[in-house]
């Protein structure tokens, strides 16, 4: 397959035009899934850049994908130490994006090899387990028939596609060599299984596309590649046999086929944890797992509070997305949430009976902006941070970039003694004096609205003996306090499209390119038409031309 041709179709220099188009009023609401109106020529708005999909890239399995895939391939229980493979490299907000860029270091190679060989040994050392796993009974230590049958079957699962004849031959030969030298059928297979799991075809998602019959120069992801794309997006693990069978029948090169399988995957139990991880990444909740706060300063702090905070937020997300399949913007203005005993203590409400999490209503806060999770990850160790909170709202909910902090910052004029009781007072000079002001003005007036919540999210109306003023404005819209701010964000027209873009970035493994904007418009329209329901958004994304097509990567790195 020649994938290295240059495409006249590609207008890589369209950045500014496409950006203008994305801000303009295009009004091309194609309600149907997979509307193909995005391709080629001038868009309906006139002067708008033509749609072109993004270049394909090898995507390294994220740590979670690696572990989930091994669980599914080898069957539980798989003993894999938590830090046995390299950490993900998060980039532009998502590990999925980092996975499209990072390399595997020499140490990483060693870790993957050790893990794969160790797991293969675990499986093959267990007589009951290996019999089920392999599925045929060897008649000799080098039984080629059984070896071939197993490696063909396992290879398809592990590499998420059918192996070529040459590949099967290669791995059968490796297995037979090992079986002969070790005089053991099982230990020989162990070497081959470990090898298949060390191969780049397992460690990377090799989704290179095939020539697209409908669009000259473009590539269409093959049915097997689409199976991987759907499965790792919607279940965060390797495709199951049903999906691979559908791929083998070529069903995943049509929007209908994609939609049918995607709907099935979305109703699986793994879809919940998969979208949960997306949401946790979108809000950058990872630091909560090791949240440290001084208990003398924050009496509600416990060693497990950080993890509980994360659970709370994901429970609310699950409630909106899976249990109620409703408008995800309720995230901002709902007064209900989920607490366990330690969170109840933090929020000052009665602990739920039964020890676990229960749904409660809170009166001193609304939605995610009042969640201890959001408030804690966007705070300092010892104090709140209106700047971090404002920055997080801009970046994560509104998809706006913050300029770089200036260098050679001169020390700010010291405030008058006694005038530094509240964060608003301490940050006053930052909002007044350049080079600080131009950025702090973007962040602080939003973050100051959340000053009623301390560094772990407990409510307070005073700081250092002074009453906190939680009023401010969001890009010119005034608010009186945190609940007003939450309502403003709920109805902010930037919020829905930003959520859609975030989910797309996570699904596609890159930040959307200007040339993908026509497809983004379609996705966003479908999301808003559905009343901002996330499962519908997920379907809109997987059936989008941007998700199903690619162009070659090009010859300049």
């Amino acid at each position: 397959m020649s994938t290295r041709t240059t495409l006249p179709l590609l207008a890589l220099a369209v950045a500014s035009a496409a950006l203008a188009a994305c801000l303009g009023d295009i009004g091309d609401g194609d309600g149907a899934f997979g509307g193909g109106s995005t391709w080629g020529g001038e868009g309906p708005g006139g002067g708008e850049a033509a749609f072109s999909p993004a270049p394909s890239r090898l995507r390294k399995l994220t740590k979670a994908q690696y572990q989930n895939s091994l669980r599914d391939l080898l069957g539980t229980p798989v003993n894999l130490a938590k830090d046995s493979v390299e950490d993900d490299g998060e980039k532009n907000g998502f590990t999925a994006i980092g996975a499209s860029f990072v390399t595997i270091s020499p140490r990483g190679v060693e870790q993957y090899e050790t893990a794969a060989m160790g797991l293969a040994k675990q499986v093959m050392a267990d007589t009951a387990r290996r019999a089920t796993f392999v599925g045929c009974n060897p008649t000799t230590p080098t039984d080629a028939t059984c070896t071939r049958a197993f490696l063909t079957k396992f290879g398809r699962r592990a590499w998420r596609r059918q192996l070529t004849a040459a590949e099967v031959d290669r791995w059968v030969a490796i297995a037979n060599d090992a079986q002969t030298k070790l005089t053991s059928f099982w230990e020989g297979l162990e070497i081959a299984v470990g090898g298949l799991l060390t191969s780049p075809h397992f460690l990377y998602r090799v989704e290179l596309g095939e020539p697209d019959p409908d669009h000259a120069g473009a590539l269409r992801y093959t049915s097997f590649e689409m199976a991987s794309r759907l499965s790792y997006f919607l279940r965060n693990t390797t495709p199951d046999d049903t999906l691979l069978d559908a791929a083998e029948r070529g069903e995943l090169s049509s929007t209908e086929g994609v939609k049918a399988q995607a709907s099935r995957l979305l109703s699986s139990a793994e879809a919940k944890s998969s979208l949960d991880s997306f949401f946790a990444e979108m809000l950058h909740l990872a630091p909560l797992e090791s949240l440290t706060r001084d208990k003398t300063k924050f009496p509600a702090m416990t060693p497990t509070l950080g993890a509980s905070m994360k659970t709370e937020t994901l429970k609310l997300f699950d409630d909106l997305v899976f249990d109620r399949d409703t408008d995800v913007r309720e995230l901002f203005d709902t007064n209900t949430t989920f607490v366990n005993a330690e969170l109840a203590n933090l929020y000052g409400v009665p602990a739920p009976s039964g020890g676990g999490f229960a749904k409660v209503s809170l009166t001193d806060r609304l939605g995610i902006l009042g969640h201890a999770s959001f408030l804690s990850v966007n705070a300092h160790v010892g104090s709140s941070s209106p700047t971090y909170r404002g920055k997080a709202i801009r970046e994560r909910f509104l998809c706006e970039s913050m300029p770089a902090p200036p260098d050679n910052v001169p020390p700010l004029p010291e405030a008058a003694p006694g005038a530094r009781a509240t964060a608003r007072q301490r940050l006053e000079m930052h909002r007044k004096v350049e080079p600080c002001a131009s950025c702090h003005k973007l962040m602080d007036p939003i973050g100051l609205g959340l000053e009623n919540y301390d560094a772990i999210g407990a409510f307070r109306d005073q700081e250092n003996g002074e009453t906190i003023d939680p009023s401010g404005d969001l890009d010119g819209k005034k608010y009186a306090g945190p609940k007003d701010l939450a309502k403003l964000l709920r109805d902010d027209p930037r919020v829905g499209p930003c959520f859609a873009r975030n989910l797309y970035r996570h699904a596609a493994g890159h930040v959307e390119l200007p040339s993908e904007e026509p497809a983004m418009k379609t996705v966003i329209t479908q999301f808003s038409d559905s009343g901002y329901r996330v499962k519908t958004l997920a379907l809109a994304i997987v059936t989008s031309d941007a998700f199903r097509f690619a162009v070659p990567q090009g010859e300049t790195p």
Binding site: R57, D87, N92, V102, I174, V206, P303, V381, D407, G554
Partner: protein, 452 residues
Amino acid sequence: MSGFNRRQLLRGLFGGAAVSVALPLLDGMLSTSGQALADGTPLPKRFGIFFWGNGVRLSKWNPSTTGAGFALSESLTPLKNVKEYLSVVSGMNIKTGNERGHHAGCVGILSGSPMISQDPMGAPYASTFSGRSIDQVIAAEIGKTTRYKSLEMAVSRSIASGEGTTLRYVSHNGPDSANPPEFEPKKLFERVFGVGFEDPEAKKREDMKVGLRRSVLDAVWGEAKALQSTVGAADRIRLDAHMTGIRALETRLASLPPSVGACAKPTSPGSLPAVDGKEPIEERMHAFSDLLALVLACDITRVFSIQFTGSVGGTVFWQVGATQGHHELTHDEPGEQPKVQATTSFTMKQLAYLLEKLKATPEGTGNLLDRTAILGSSDAAHGREHTINDYPILVAGKAGGALKGDYHYRSTSGENASMVLMSLVRAMDIPATSFGKGGGLVTKGLAAIEAA
């Protein structure tokens, strides 16, 4: 492998904490002068990086006198026992621009090259290195024969994540291609010295499998090679890095792991987790240093990097009474910043432990520090202001006589900080004629710190 033959011929003595086991004395294997192996091969040179985040307080950092026999500043006082091995370089600038505070300093001082910003509008910012960090430039030459080309360690886990590879990793092979560090001394121990098999039969079986695993790696390498021909340029580079790692592992499997007899297998330092949110960074640094002395003496690697604390890192230096994260502290503490200053002194005390440990480890007629060069620096000059002029740079160790020591060079014309990197590369006997890229490019070293 030659590395192991040589290692077996080395001699040394170890004193100290967790990993102290005496090596057998093998005087007869050294030349009569003790400066080389009996066959005349010079003793190996080593290179390391000691990195800490968030800069320094320049007013307390720069020594007040220059030249040989300079007077240590307040920040550098903890290094008094190794002063004869220490050069302080001040007044030099990172010349690759300060596009983004902390990021630019990291990439500049570690690679002499400009940073790469990865900031599509509307998404969180990220950055990466544009080229190899100096440890990898050096490892490509002096790390060819050892079991590990280089070893990477990190002490504090309070690392800034989510802004790309720059703030997160010290050692880079190129853009988005980092060498992630080991955070736990115990894990490094297990990786380098292995977990022994008690049962000789089981061990024999595993030994048999090693050869098979090498054949598998060869097949896997071939698959990566074939895959390369189907992808574009960016992925070809990524696969190149992967294939380098595969070959390295194949080679490693072909050599015997360090054996007890020749290399005095130490005891594991054990787990050193944070307790009540307090990271035992001093204990971890000591354990890493003890291990490293052994690893270098046994010639398991010749190149290492230690990220003591991270750029924009949030390490809470509870040992000096800090309650804020380090980055926050450097920006928020008013006035003369005594707490920030205390964190710098504490950090230098940790570097001193490593240097003293290497100095106390004999090799030939000298010690490990005689044959090592270590670059010590940070992601900014003045932490609070994220400046990149008057950069804090330390050079420790004599590099087999290539470096001077006990010297403070202060540039009065804001010379290019990459000159120090060039000197370090040449101190490793690598005949480089230039170092760095863009504004960081230099064609000569800093003669003042080089031995005449």
